[in-house]
Structures are given as C-alpha cells and as structure tokens.
Symmetry: D2
Amino acid sequence: MHVSVVGLGNMGHAIAANLLKARFALTVWNRTPQRADNLVAAGAARAATPADAGRADIVITMLADDGAVEHVVFEEGVLESLPRNAIHVSMGTISVRLSERLTAAHAQRGSTFVAAPVFGRPDAAAAGRLFVIAAGRGDALDQCEPVFGAIGQRTFRVGEHPPHANVIKLAGNFLIASMIESLSEAVALARKSGIDARAFIDLLTNTLFAAPAYKTYGGLIAEERYRPAGFRMPLGLKDVTLALDAARDRTVPLPIASLVRDRMLEALANGYDDADWSALGAVAAKAAGLRRSSR
Amino acid sequence: MHVSVVGLGNMGHAIAANLLKARFALTVWNRTPQRADNLVAAGAARAATPADAGRADIVITMLADDGAVEHVVFEEGVLESLPRNAIHVSMGTISVRLSERLTAAHAQRGSTFVAAPVFGRPDAAAAGRLFVIAAGRGDALDQCEPVFGAIGQRTFRVGEHPPHANVIKLAGNFLIASMIESLSEAVALARKSGIDARAFIDLLTNTLFAAPAYKTYGGLIAEERYRPAGFRMPLGLKDVTLALDAARDRTVPLPIASLVRDRMLEALANGYDDADWSALGAVAAKAAGLRRSSR
Amino acid sequence: MHVSVVGLGNMGHAIAANLLKARFALTVWNRTPQRADNLVAAGAARAATPADAGRADIVITMLADDGAVEHVVFEEGVLESLPRNAIHVSMGTISVRLSERLTAAHAQRGSTFVAAPVFGRPDAAAAGRLFVIAAGRGDALDQCEPVFGAIGQRTFRVGEHPPHANVIKLAGNFLIASMIESLSEAVALARKSGIDARAFIDLLTNTLFAAPAYKTYGGLIAEERYRPAGFRMPLGLKDVTLALDAARDRTVPLPIASLVRDRMLEALANGYDDADWSALGAVAAKAAGLRRSSR
Amino acid sequence: MHVSVVGLGNMGHAIAANLLKARFALTVWNRTPQRADNLVAAGAARAATPADAGRADIVITMLADDGAVEHVVFEEGVLESLPRNAIHVSMGTISVRLSERLTAAHAQRGSTFVAAPVFGRPDAAAAGRLFVIAAGRGDALDQCEPVFGAIGQRTFRVGEHPPHANVIKLAGNFLIASMIESLSEAVALARKSGIDARAFIDLLTNTLFAAPAYKTYGGLIAEERYRPAGFRMPLGLKDVTLALDAARDRTVPLPIASLVRDRMLEALANGYDDADWSALGAVAAKAAGLRRSSR
C-alpha cells in the first residue's frame, strides 16, 4: 500500500517517520523541502508537488490550517491526481465546514475522504502513541487501519460522516482550553490567598483531577512557565474559534468558549503570541493584580 | 481521646460510623435526634445539646452551611464548653470568612481551630476513603491525625492558617462546577451535530480526560440522568458563591465562576432545584434548542 | 449626476425613492425586478444587470450581506463597468474586511470606494432622516454630498479610510445589542420582583436614559412584543458577529459582544429566528423562569 | 413638620441644605459633626445622637451602605426613638434585603418605612434636581411629598412595597454600569482601528444615543479622564453586587452584571480603587493592549 504524507511539521514528520518504520511505501511532500531530507535518507520518496504526492492509495494531509489544506487539495492538485477509490485522510485540525466540503468534493470524484484528527502532542506522535479519531466510510476506515495502527495507540471510529471526527477534535480542544482557563482562575485565587500554587496543583491532581492534562497544564500555570510553547496561543485561539464556528452553524451557544476566546485575545494583545496557551494563567494573574513571581 | 461529631447528615453520619469502628470514644449530636439512633446502638454517647458535645478533646462539625455552624458554635455553646487546648475541627464546606472568625474566636479562648474540609461523595465517606484538606497549628494537626486516618485515605496538610484549607476546598468545587459546565456545552455541540453523547464521553474519558470526575459527570450529562441528585444544585450554587465571595474579598475576578453561577441560577429558576448540579447539562441543552431525549 | 441604486430592500427602496424625489437621474436594479416597478413608474431607469447599473457616476449598493455585495461587484460586473473616477458607495452593513477589499479593488482600477453605512430604521429611510456615516477620499465625499443630503438628516465624515465607517457602524449596532441585553436582564429582575415592567421602563426613560433607543427597545421588551420584527434576530447576530470579527482582526476582546452573541444563538435555537432582536428579552425572561405574561 | 437628616455626605448635605431653604424645621446628624456646622449656622438644629435625630416626623437616612444604616437605626436608636406614625425615609442605595427588614421592623413598632432612593449626582442634589423613586404606604408618601418636592425635580411613586424602589434604583445603576462597560469595549475597538475616540463618542451621542449618560461616560472614557472620581469604582462594585444579590434572592441570572462585576474587580486589583467607575474603560483598553494615550 502506497501512502503519502503532505505536511511535515512536528506532527506530520513524526507520523511519516513511524510509517517508514512500519515499512509502508512512503512519499512525502513539504513546502519547505529540507524538512523531508532525513525521511528521504531513510527511504521515503520525495514528491515534487502536492499533485505528485496525490498519486497514492492513501494521502494524509497534516497541515497548519484550513487555508493550507485548501491550497494543496484544490489548487495544487491533490484532489485531481488522487486515483478513484483512493483515500484522502485529513489528520490536522480543520474546520467542520472544510471537512464537509472535502467530503462532498471527493464523493463527486469517486475518491473517499476520511477525517482522522488526533489527540496528542508531538512527543506522543514521535512515540506512535497518538489517539486517532476517525470518521468515514467503513471500508475506507478498514483500509486505513494499518496506517492508524502504525502512528497511534488507539483508533476510535466515530461513524461514517467525516465531519463528526472534526467536531469531536474541536470539542476536545475546547475542553482543554476551558480547563486551562479554570485552572488559571483557581490558581490566581490560591496565590492571592497566600497559598503556594505548586502545592495547590499537586493536591488537586492527586485528588479530584488525577488526569495528565491537569498535571501538565496545572504545572505550567503554577510555575508560570509559558515559554517555550508546547501549543502556541494563536493555535489555541484558532481551535476555539473553529469550535465556536461549528457551534454557530448548528445554533449552539458555547458561553465558556466565548469567554476563553476573549481571554486568548487579551493574551495575544499583551505579548503572549509566542507563548503556550497555558499563558491564560498570566492573563488571570494580571486581572487579579498579581505580579509575576520572582523566579 | 474523646471525639464528638456534631451534624449527622450523610457525610457526618458516615464519619461518625468510621470513628466508632476505629474505637474512638465518641459522642454525637444532631438536631433531629433519630439520625443518631443506630450510632448510639453501636456504642456512641448521645449529647443532649451541642454544648454537651463540646466537652471533648476534638469536636468535629459537619453541618450544611455557615448559619448552622454559627448557631451551634456561638449560640448553642460549642465554643464555650470546649475545654482549653481542645480542638474544633470544621469539616463542612464553610465560607472563608467564617473560618477566619472561628480561628480568631478559638484563639481568644485558648482552644484551637482546625479547618479540615474533605473531597469525596457520601460513598467515599462511608468507605473511609475521603481526602482530608487540613490546615491549623501543627500540634493540633498532629493530634487530629488518628481521626483523619480513620475517615480518609489521605490527609493533605496545607499550612498553619485554617482558612487556606477552605479556599482550597472552594477552589476545588469551583473547578468541578466549571468542568460540568464545559462538558455540558461540549455535549450539546456533539448532540446537535448528530454525535452520540455517550460515545463522545467514552472517547474523551479514554483519551484526554481519564479522570474519575469526567467519567462521573460526563456520564450523567450524556445520559441526562440528573435525578436522584448526588450533590444538589442549590449546594453547588452555594459553593460557587462562596468561592466568588472569597475571591471578591481578595479582589480576584473569576469569570468562569460567574458564568457558572448564572447558569446555576437559570437551572434553579427552571425546575432543577432538586436535581444534581450536573443538570447544568439540561440548561446547555435547552439553550441549544435540544429537546430532552426520549429515554 | 447619474446615480444607480443596487438593492431595493426596505432601505434601498426608500433611498431610491428619495433620490428620485430630489430629481437625480436614477437607475435601479434588484434581483427580484418587481421591487423596482413603482420606482420605474415614477421615472427611474431599470438596469438589466448589475453591470448596467454600474455605468453611472455614483453606484450605491444597499444589500443584505457580504455575499450579495461580493456577487454583484466582483462577479456580476459592477466593478468592471464602473467608469474611471466614478464612485461606489456601499451603504449596507458589510464586514470591515470586505470594505478593505473594496477599497483596494477600486483603487487598483482607478475608481473610488466610499463606505457610507447609515443609522436609522426603514421609517427613517422613508422620511429621508437617516444618519450617514461616510468615509473615503475627500473629493469623493464632496461629490456624494448631494446624494447624502437627499437621503439623510446629517452626514458624519469620519476620515479618508472607508473601513473606519464600517467599524463605527458595527460598533453602533453592538452598542444597541448590548443595550437590549442589559434591558432584558433588568426587566427580568423587575418583573420577578413584582414590579410592572412598563412602569419600570417609563421611569428609566424619563430619568437616566431619555434616549429614543431605550424607549423603543425598552417598550418592546416590557410588552414582550417581539413580532413583527423591526430588525430580525439573524441580522442582529450577523452584525454582532461582524463586530467580533473586526475586533479579532485587531486583537480586541469584546466580552459583552460575545455574551450577546451567545444569547442571540439561544434565541435562534428556541424559535425566535423570525422575531425582532429585542427578543433577547424572551431569553432573559426564560432564564429567570418567567412565563410569558398573558397579554 | 419636623424633618431630620442623618448622614451628611455630599448627597445628604445637599438635601439638607435644600430642606432648610424650603423652610422645614430641620435637625441634622453626622458622625463627623463638623460636616453639620454650616447647616447649623444656617438654622438647622444639631442632634447629639442618631436617637435624638429620630425624634421627628420624618427621618431621612442618607448613608454610605447597609452597615451604616443598620448601625444608626438598630443600634444607635433611630428606630426606638422614632414616634409612632412617624416616617423613616431611606434615600441611600441600600440592599433589597435591608429594605425588607426595615419595612418589617417599622411596621412592628407602628412607625412607617419609605424607600426613596434617588437618581442624580451631587450637582443634581445641590440644584434640587434629583429624581426620587419612592415606595411605601400611600398616606406616608403623601406626607413626604413636600420633602421630595424640595429636593427633586420629580417623584416617581412605584407602589406600596418599599423594596420595589430599591430594586429599581439598583437596576438603574446596573444599567449605567453595563453602558459604561459596553462603551469601554466599543471605544477600545475604535481606538485600535485608528479612529479618534472623541469623534466616535460625539457621533454616537448625536445619533443613536442622545442621552446625557452616554455623553458623560462616553466622554470620560474617550478622554481617559478617570480621576477625580464622580462615583468611585468601589461604590459601583457595591451597587452591582447589590443588584446581583437581589437577583439571586429572586433566582434571576444577570450575566451582564456578572461580567461587569468581574471587570470592576479587575479594575480594583490594578490600581483603580480611587478612580471613577468609568475606569472600566482602562480595563478594556488594557485588555486590547492599548497604551494609555499620552495626554
């Protein structure tokens, strides 16, 4: 089975490497071609264009945003070059609307669209420990099974309608963002009460909230360690905005998402555009009149 | 060591039963005396009044709200009858202000105040599996150690200043409430997108949010199973309001808490006063125009 | 001077009629041609296409949304047919981004773009009593002066940069929407306190808030008279969303706008899509558990 | 008719002066007695204690907050010394709960309670141009009519139940606060778009919002002129909090009030405790990353 990966950022590169390791016939493409060098050295073919990459059984796109996906698919030839019965798997975080458009465009041409966004940070991608949220036609998902197996620890099939996977991904990121904001406020209250923030987070994550996400983000907020970014604030804003867009299209109010979006804008307007999205903690601290601790 | 328990609701009764099992000399008091009957049958002494209960080495209060605590302590004699060097341990969820007042009142009389609110629902209390968040003078906490050991799985000492324990308890309940609201919004989005709510929660709690609290509350919201209540909405509102009050006294804005408070008021105004606080899920569903599923 | 009006909804039709009355040489175009009949009977020329209408000294577009403007301007030929040195005046409520795009597109072709959104409802348009908020090159605004004079009671020049006029229009509509929401909440509080809503509004608008907008919207909310719509809820949502979009592009959080947007979504999800945007009053009343009064 | 005024702050002093001018037999009391000196010089009697002041036909209290009213009425003898059939008129902004308590306490003793809060700033009080919102028994309001006539431009009778007047006063102040916040956000958007804030406010207040409150507060925000304070931020917070408290007692969510309260807390936590409540404009500007303009 011939697989292509289009987009070799942190996530795409790790995915491609794992596919190579699993001995797939792999073609790769990236706008900045050097990103592909070590993969090519390890046995991958280099596509000259997205259209070249499109000549495969399965084409995976792992790109930064809707614009990038639209560009390679509709303007640079992925859609056109993809053989009938071949599969386009979008693994990045894209809008539900674009997922709907891709579903229709592929159906019209006789190819198949699968949405398979993932949960997991780059380290999980490198370790092949992603969670894959996959939606699409059953036979296509069957065909993708070995691919998903090579890059993730578990695949969740969430039905035949690709956009469902995107809704779930966006809802998941919204939940993380709202957890970050809530923790930020709680930590501000604790700190201004004279309670040690680190001890406070330790206590919470050993009692009520023994989940990795709470430990990770609670720790960053308690230590005000917002740089280097694991997931940059503008990407967080993008995802919360996509969740709000999908919700608007379905006439669903998401007041917490709206609130978080405003706090993210405040973060961006005040110098946190290069920081991790946990820098919502800095916004909450500032609102409470807390100075940055001296560490 | 002679211990009294004042207040035998679900939590207080379970705590008293565990102290009996651990062979403490136990005195109990409850405004409705019949609640004490089976404890007395099992060996506890029945206090005729709160003042009687106050004649002990350690008096635990586990009462519904500030008013109940103030009444037994300041008006019905617990403070006056408590011996010098004896300890008053407040385990209920009380305001930070009352905790400050109790700290001062006991200090003035030569007795000691310890705040030791707990995390855990009545079943955890019955199983002796509570988490105890304790703050107070070190020697007093040492003395309380066997008591805490009999009723909880772990004790967290959070310093010498009793109100700190109350801030942490309230912050924890605020975080649970904000998690419930976030999940409620996410589930509304999923349902209105045509995604099965139960499957959505299963996926989340097997990936990003593998924490018991997410499983418990996510499940209740997905199944719209808001009655019988594990923790009633008015109590949830009380605790979020206490968190907001403490935050106001420290000049800390908590916008998520404010938002959750308003949703809780909406729930109470629309017939959910006897429901679990997870009925925020019903408010979010209604806001999205979803009808109650037919189960 | 030859003037065209493209778009003959309530507002566009009234504007065209006033231009006729003021004896401008007038050409009109509307997608549903019958809307033009009485104007043609009164002396206007009927354009066969938007491109035909574009052959004028000043082309006014007064269309429902960005999509409609983009369609007639970029796809149906208004831009192309507009003579060099002629002026396109957009009077509808469009996005700031589209205004930027139109500014650039016209500049490139040697024509001029003027943004001139208006404040005022259809009755004010009919009476020639609109307020015109105009931005664009000074010489172009000079040329438009007689047109603005024929349709409005006063023109505000707000600079050379057309998008500024659109920001101001959107900010104005955001302020109206936030006033409606605030009044809705205040009326819910008054009603649930047993205070007559009508008397409450009368008092406010005779003391603190002696402004027509408060009288109009306060009256509608107090009387729960949400239909027929003066300005439909979906249009309100569109404008608040455009304000939020412009604010996001400038990294400005607008928490009140976010809140109002969510309440509008709740209104739309609960049957108020054909109601006036003052039906935010119904959302606030429902949140407070108030039943519709029996009138 | 013998009238007493208890509390000679800016408002109370102005009221007392107008009552003297209108030739009422006047007794005054203030905790800091020097505030009364010029009134005494002009013919007022000085009460030695609140109880002394209570021996009158009508006792007006104009005090800073609930605590001050409770103190003079319940602990310093105003209630006890007030003759049967005499009237206590509370003109300050007090809580609805205290108004209920005063209504009951006076009824029990055979005296009468009237709530008559006012709209208007100190300059309106000095000019006798206040608006009086009065509620209480009809005969008592009749008796107060000449007093109200001497201090205000118009009296609104809002029924027999005194707390209704307090609800209306608090709702009015909530509406002003929400207007300030909305204007603050709109001005931040305008400024960050490059639009002159002063011109923006002029335009709005000459079109949509030709109300004095918009002119006053819009001007302060546009000019960032937050000191000296006309109405201090902590008082604004107090009033919004009282509105939220009354709403909670009636199970009415007020999401805009909650949002404004949080922004006021942010203002207080960041150095605006001595500023006018229009300094919400500074909070919105900071959230948008705007620097204070150099004026």
